[in-house]
Amino acid sequence: MQYPKELKYTKEHEWAKINEKNVTIGITDHAQSALGDIVFVELPPMGKTFKQGETFGVVESIKAVSDLYSPVTGKVTKINETVIKEPSQLNKDPHKSAWLIEMEATDIQTFQNLLNSDDYTHYVEKLK
């Protein structure tokens, strides 16, 4: 699996696409594959703030419940309603159309804690 170069990653298998202060967030292909058929997504309300590493939502597969951890510190500015209505989109296109939320980062220092594509690829390889 290719993990796009333009994304940053967490060890909890979220990705973040950073455009200055604006950050789009999703789960990685590894995460969706490990979960299996995703049937439920719970996302936070607009305007809610999270620190890096805090739980901002939940995805559930048939078998498992998995927390979502915020890759950055900031405020929720957008929610992808499509994945709430069709959670299976997360299995099909996790790195693009099935993004979860957008945040406005309030502490760009926290970006430094994220992994780049190569580091995340190595990290996932070691989990196998």
Binding site: G36, D37, F40, E42
Partner: protein, 374 residues
């Protein structure tokens, strides 16, 4: 700890099964995906490796008397080549296990037990045997010697029939026979299962497993047969509200509470747990096993609390829950306090991550399989 493997371990790897630790067994939770496998079983057929199940044999002149002392159902009521679902209880009426007994004759029984309970059950059987006045029977744990394969679904009979000269349509539900598969492999062929669909459970010698598995896939795949993992096995049984040990059943719950009064024959002279179950019935049961459907968005899971519709009072707990692949909604099984008067159609709430979501008590099974034509 070294995980145990069934005779079909290499088959699961070849098929790309995702292997997990399931109670000490390395078994596939899924191959292509839980929903895909679940729907294949409902529409055509599913193939399951259930070799982790335990097999205990009881043989001898006193076998029937002893087994009837152990189980709550009445094994004397069935004929040779008939199977019976039953619970095995402790002296307090709590369920030690739920099992299927296969009656080969009055002197020869096969008891199929839950994988995770095999050692516990066998120890209980042996201890009970010591205290039992009649001694003319033997108990053996044959679990390592059997491969058990389940083929389930509306096309299961048609597919299995291609591999055997045994007339399968002559085997009624919960009956079995012995015969050959692929001309030479000795098998017990039972019309039993855990999906709600028509189908069979086939028991062979351990080493014959791969040949039977491969042949079933070969003749079955063109008819829509798919290998199914433990994930689909769980969602299929849940849609039927079939209980699962460790979820709906445990050693402090009696079979009446678990909605299994139909496997408790209180008119039987004596069996372990009878006095306790009688007393519990006289005192009045405190909880009831019900099915519910979420009205709000959310999926109930084991351990979540159930509250009244107005959210004020806790009245129960979820024992199993999932998103139903057949119905495309969230379903759950729960124990509810009797005094909250749970009835079909009444509204309750389920607490999920601190928020209470609206649900409705519904009639079960949640899903009714379409009748098979064979």
């Amino acid at each position: 700890m070294q995980l145990k493997q069934t005779s079909l371990f290499e088959e699961h790897k070849k098929l790309g099964g995702r292997l997990v630790d399931f109670g000490g067994w390395e078994l596939p939770v899924q191959y292509t995906g839980v929903i895909d496998e679940h729907l294949a079983c409902r529409k055509n057929a599913g193939l399951f490796d259930v070799s982790h199940m335990g097999e205990i044999e009881i043989k001898g002149a006193d076998a029937e008397a002893f087994l009837n002392h152990l189980v709550t159902n009445n094994i004397a009521n069935i004929s040779n080549e008939q199977a019976q679902y039953t619970t095995v209880c402790n002296h307090s009426g709590g369920i030690i296990d739920d099992v299927i007994t296969y009656k080969r004759s009055k002197e020869n029984f096969l008891v199929v037990v839950n994988a995770s309970n095999t050692e516990k059950d066998f120890a209980w059987f042996k201890k009970t045997a010591q205290d039992f006045p009649y001694k003319n029977f033997t108990l053996t744990n044959e679990s390592p010697n059997y491969t058990q394969i389940a083929i389930q679904g509306p096309r299961a009979c048609e597919i299995l029939q291609k591999l055997t000269s045994v007339n399968l349509s002559g085997i009624k539900t919960y009956w079995f026979t012995t015969g050959k598969i692929l001309n030479t492999i000795s098998a017990i062929i039972a019309r039993t299962g855990y999906t709600g669909e028509d189908g069979f459970e086939v028991y062979t010698q351990w080493y014959d497993g791969p040949k039977v598995w491969q042949a079933l896939l070969e003749v079955g795949q063109p008819l829509g047969l798919k290998p199914c993992g433990l994930g689909a096995r769980d969602t299929l049984r849940l849609e039927m509200k079939y209980p699962l040990y460790g979820h709906e059943l445990n050693d402090v719950t009696n079979p009446i509470e678990a909605n299994l009064a139909w496997v408790v024959k209180l008119e039987k002279e004596s069996f372990i747990g009878k006095q306790a179950i009688l007393k519990a019935k006289q005192d009045g049961l405190t909880k009831e096993l019900i099915g519910l459907k979420l009205i709000d968005r959310g999926i109930p899971r084991q351990g979540y609390s159930v509250f009244t519709g107005d959210k004020s009072t806790k009245i129960g707990v979820i024992t199993s829950g999932t998103q139903s692949p057949s119905l495309n909604c969230a379903i759950g099984i729960a124990y509810i306090n009797k005094n909250s008067n749970p009835t079909i159609g009444s509204r309750v709430t389920v607490e999920i991550r601190g928020t209470k979501f609206l649900a409705e008590i519904v009639s079960t099974p949640f899903y009714r399989p379409k009748p098979s034509n064979s």
